[in-house]
């Protein structure tokens, strides 16, 4: 009976470490994708800025260019910056998850929240945000 209990503990420990590692890897990849997407979008908006601003505006109707129905150009610049911040924080969360496994729930929440918020700025081509959410959820489980 005692022997069986011992084996279960070992398995649980291994499983927990494996889940932590999976959560770390998923969150890290997600964070990197969110950051890369944010940087790329920010640079593209800076380079082709006005043109993209116009196109976004156009999606709100041709009047978008006149600033009436379309979103202001700056709001898209802002959303890309939001993605940048989220990417950095998800990466920090992933690294902390790895270095401080005892605090995994706290960092799981951080990863989850900022991965969801990153959807505002295209969330690492959406794949990054999904990986981040999966990593955060795994850390919480």
């Amino acid at each position: 009976m005692i022997k069986v209990k011992k084996n279960m503990n070992t398995n649980t420990g291994r499983s927990s470490r494996s889940m932590n590692m999976t959560a770390f890897v998923l969150s890290l990849i997600g964070g990197i994708l969110i950051l890369v997407n944010g940087v790329m979008s920010f640079l593209m908006l800076t380079y082709y800025g006005a043109d993209f601003g116009w196109m976004w505006g156009m999606m709100g109707g041709y009047q978008g260019m006149m600033g009436s129905l379309g979103f202001p150009f700056g709001s898209f610049m802002g959303l890309m910056l939001v993605a940048l911040v989220c990417g950095i924080i998800v990466i920090i969360g992933a690294l902390m998850l790895n270095s401080r496994p005892a605090e995994r729930r706290s960092w799981g929440v951080i990863i989850l929240i900022f991965s969801i918020v990153s959807f505002l700025g295209m969330g690492g081509f959406y794949i990054g945000a999904i990986l981040g959410v999966a990593g955060g959820a795994l850390a919480l489980s």
Partner: protein, 196 residues
């Protein structure tokens, strides 16, 4: 089992959320959206020149057209005399845009899509054929309208059209497929200034 939220994590959460809130708040202000109304064609030309010089030193403003929705500018290459691309200058904000549509999608040298390694203004569809295509399209969509001179760009032509000798609109003809792209976004034509 972890009982409380880590203080470092709380700090990260608070700092992150504040940063995001500030970015979103500022993105709707003048800091992210600098604007200055454009009151005349001279100002529009200056802004178009600034945009053109950012794309290369070999470019100049050839023509400015004022429409009710915005100013339209043709940018020309100094050395070849070939029209490079078309710009729009927003009257309300002074923001300068590469014109969406043909200039962005069909331009084989300066556009965003389908740039060619050897861009040329000599195309399978010549200017006469482009004018014929434009007139056919006009006859169907704007009876009584007449296609005017074709402006040649890399990959396409842009043609003004008029009714009763009064310019009323603009369309583009693809230099390879002969396809028509009507410029729906200008509004009413007001005046035109050509530069040497």
């Amino acid at each position: 089992m972890q009982k409380s939220f880590s203080s470092t994590a709380i700090l990260t959460l608070v700092v992150g959320l504040i940063a995001i809130a500030l970015i979103i708040a500022f993105s709707y202000t003048a800091i992210f959206n600098p604007s200055a109304p454009v009151n005349d064609a001279g100002q529009a030309k200056t802004l178009a020149e600034q945009y053109a010089s950012s794309q290369g030193s070999n470019l100049q403003v050839k023509e400015i057209m004022e429409f009710s929705n915005q100013y339209y500018a043709i940018i020309q290459e100094k050395n070849t005399g070939i029209n490079a691309f078309e710009l729009l200058v927003d009257k309300a904000t002074g923001r300068v845009f590469l014109e969406p549509g043909p200039s962005m999608m069909w331009n084989t040298k300066y556009g965003h899509m389908g740039r060619s390694r050897n861009p040329t203004a000599t195309m399978p569809v010549n200017s006469e054929q482009a004018l014929r295509n434009a007139q056919e399209w006009l006859d169907f969509n704007f009876p009584d309208a007449r296609a005017e001179e074709a402006e040649t760009f890399y990959g396409y032509y842009t043609i003004d059209f008029s009714r009763n000798n009064q310019t009323t609109g603009m369309l583009s003809v693809n230099g390879y497929s002969g396809e028509i792209w009507y410029h729906t976004w200008h509004g009413q034509f007001i005046r035109m200034i050509e530069y040497d």
